[in-house]
Amino acid sequence: MTGWLLARGASETAPPATNPFHADASVVPVGRSLFNQHCSHCHAPNAINPDPSRDLRRLKLRYRENMAHVFYETVTEGRPTKGMVPWKGVLSEDAIWKIFTFLESVQREP
């Protein structure tokens, strides 16, 4: 595991996060709606954000196989000094992974 993950607060010892809804297309619309309610005012409706630092269609390009892990750590803990709010205690695990399932469906291919 590399420096950027540590720098972003992911712990090396935590088990890698996995998406319980992986590849379940039926979850995508629910995840999209949750995303549009909770995340879109910073990350843009349907994740179409022109600002690269907030464009969540680039997660796979950026983090490859660590994408789920970075996503989960960032969403639960936030990056408060960078403007990303922590969602632990606000959204359920279930809702967070549904959002992830939607985001997986809009990733740009490397």
Binding site: S33, N36, Q37, H38, S40, H41, C42, H43, A44, P45, N46, I48, N49, P50, D51, R54, P80, T81, K82, G83, M84, V85, V90
Partner: protein
């Protein structure tokens, strides 16, 4: 020049407001955000005209040192120009107005986590001036007084705790011995207030809540205890009429956007109007009490903030010179009110409006089309205008010379649905799902319009491809200056809208330009630096905006070179 029946009210009023300072009295500077305390933004200088504007050249440039949205209107007091950068502000500069040479810089440390608690970008729209002091408002909820000569901090007072989701983005209003400010936070469920501070000591003198508590007048317009997180934030600038001694502010949307929390889920909302949100307030600055109010969007469900600036003018209505205020509301209607009484004179659509068929003259309420009101888990589709409004903060202006109001308008529509919302401190409190990226009729996304506020007709309009075009500056030289999001700064013929000159500043312009005279020479100044956050709400349209110009941050000052 005085046209029959029209009084150039605020050339006179500005002088009266600033009787204690010869500097601010000058008609050659730019002493306050809106040019005068009535926010007319009319430039009284006429050296630069329709005949010679083609020769306009850059005199100097000041780099502002930040790349977030630049929304500042510079002030010019005597021979000094004061301008702020975005991000806090990160910097307040005092520079020689002739050369741009920096005299002092104030660079406060702003906590990094303000990003979370500002809805729409790390912007700052400029400072206020009175009696040798510069008043700065900050994203971390502080109001600061600086010595205008040295930049030394004289006092610092907390207006609001930003961590609840509040921020101050607009300059305060200097009124008599007071400096008055509201704050932003309608998206975070703040309970809005406007507060006044003593200019000399920084002590809070009064505080006016824009949302009444249980038992107070107006509290019956709220369901249950929804008022506690009811919004009504006065986040934009105030206006002041020294003759009537009335201070005017607009208030934001109620919170959350999902109206069902605050009343019935229907257009038949009865008394659940949610006072005093989405309203214009006339305030007695001595007591901090509301003298009259006019609610433009009762029981708002569209994020139609009522904050847009109140432009004060004296015009002939029914044969009588009448003190009025103009407001191009977010909700798409252009309001003319008697500013002494609050009585509605007219309210007509100045952009394409399809959520209401008009405004009922007796009640003052919009006549809603029920399908266009979003309800809980029910989409309302293709609502025009969208939540940026027919106009947003980008300032309009009134020219007593042409008797027209120049408005930077939007032409966008939206889909909106209510969702269940739960208040959590410091988090967005919307209860809403939306798609704002719907282009209005005609395919253009904004338009500079010249509006006759008495006949309620558009005299001319220049369509712009992309939204977020810049504020307006009409001048006595028969010109109107404004920028656009691609970075072009333009001069138009004020009576026809014909493009006479343009200059590429390299980054989008949304702020309003100013003009001033120094040693017999007229200058025009505007801040350039493209918006970052609001375009991001627009998906693929946002991508076009990002592609149209890079972010930036610079003040450009123009002059006519010696022939």
């Amino acid at each position: 020049m005085r046209r029959p029946g029209f009084v150039v009210a605020f050339a006179v009023l500005t002088g009266m407001l600033c009787t204690d300072t010869a500097l601010a009295q000058s008609t050659t500077g730019w002493p306050v955000y809106g040019g005068d305390s009535g926010n007319t933004r009319y430039g009284k200088l006429d050296q630069i005209t329709t005949k010679n504007v083609q020769r306009l050249k850059v005199a100097w440039v000041l780099q502002l040192g930040t790349l977030e949205a630049q929304e500042s209107t510079p002030l010019v007091i005597g021979d000094t120009l004061y301008v702020t950068s975005s991000s806090g502000p990160k910097h307040v500069f005092a520079v020689e107005a002739k050369t741009g040479t920096v005299r002092w810089r104030y660079s406060p440390e702003i906590p990094a986590d303000v990003q979370q608690t500002t809805c729409c970008g790390l912007d700052n729209r400029g400072v206020a001036y009175a009696k040798g002091k510069i008043f700065v408002t900050r994203l971390d909820g502080y109001l600061v007084a600086l010595d205008a000569r040295t930049g030394k901090e004289l006092w610092k007072s907390q207006v609001v705790d930003y961590t609840q989701g509040a921020a101050i983005t607009s300059p305060p209003t200097a009124v008599k011995n007071l400096v008055v400010t509201g704050f932003a936070g309608g998206e975070y469920g703040v309970r809005g207030y406007i507060s006044a501070f003593d200019q000399d000591t920084g002590k809070e003198v009064w505080r006016l809540y824009t949302v009444p508590a249980t038992g107070e007048p107006g509290s019956e317009t709220w369901k249950g205890d929804s008022w506690k997180f009811g919004g009504g934030a006065a986040w934009y600038v105030g206006s002041y009429d020294p003759q009537l001694n009335l201070l005017y502010y607009g208030t934001s949307n109620p919170a959350p956007w999902a109206a069902v929390v605050r009343g019935p889920d229907s257009s038949a909302y009865g008394d659940f109007t949610n006072l005093f949100t989405a309203s214009t307030l006339a305030i007695d600055p001595d007591s901090g009490k509301i003298v009259w109010h006019y609610q433009s969007t009762p029981y708002d469900a569209w994020d139609y903030d009522g904050v847009n600036e109140l432009v004060l003018a004296d015009v002939v209505v029914g044969g009588q010179t009448t003190p009025v205020l103009f407001k191009a509301d977010r909700n798409g209607f252009f309001y003319v009110l008697n500013r002494k009484t609050g009585k509605l004179i007219s309210a007509e659509p100045y952009v394409f409006v399809n959520w209401a068929t008009g405004v009922d003259k007796a009640s003052g309420r919009p006549i809603e089309i029920p399908e266009k009101r979003p309800r809980l888990d029910t989409w309302a589709r293709d609502i025009c205008p969208n939540l940026f409004g027919g106009k947003n903060w980008e300032p309009m202006a009134y020219s007593p010379q042409t008797r027209l109001v120049y408005i930077p308008t939007f032409n966008l529509c939206m889909d909106l649905a209510g969702r269940t919302a739960e208040y959590k401190r410091g988090m967005f409190y919307l209860g809403s799902e939306w798609d704002l990226a719907k282009v209005g009729p005609g395919g253009h996304m904004s338009e500079a319009i010249a509006w006759d506020p008495i006949k309620n007709v558009k005299v001319w309009g220049n369509k712009e491809e992309l939204p977020f075009m810049g504020g307006m500056l009409p001048t006595a030289g028969g010109l109107v200056f404004h920028g656009n999001i691609q970075g072009w700064f333009k001069a138009l013929d004020a009576s026809t809208g014909k493009l006479l000159w343009q200059f590429n500043t390299g980054s989008g312009i949304s702020a309003g330009p100013v003009t001033y005279e120094l040693d017999g020479k007229q200058y025009v100044a505007v801040v350039s630096g493209r918006l970052v956050t609001p375009p991001s709400f627009l998906g693929h349209i946002g991508e076009k905006i990002f592609a149209s110009s890079p972010p930036g941050g610079a003040l450009f000052v123009f002059e006519l070179p010696a022939p």
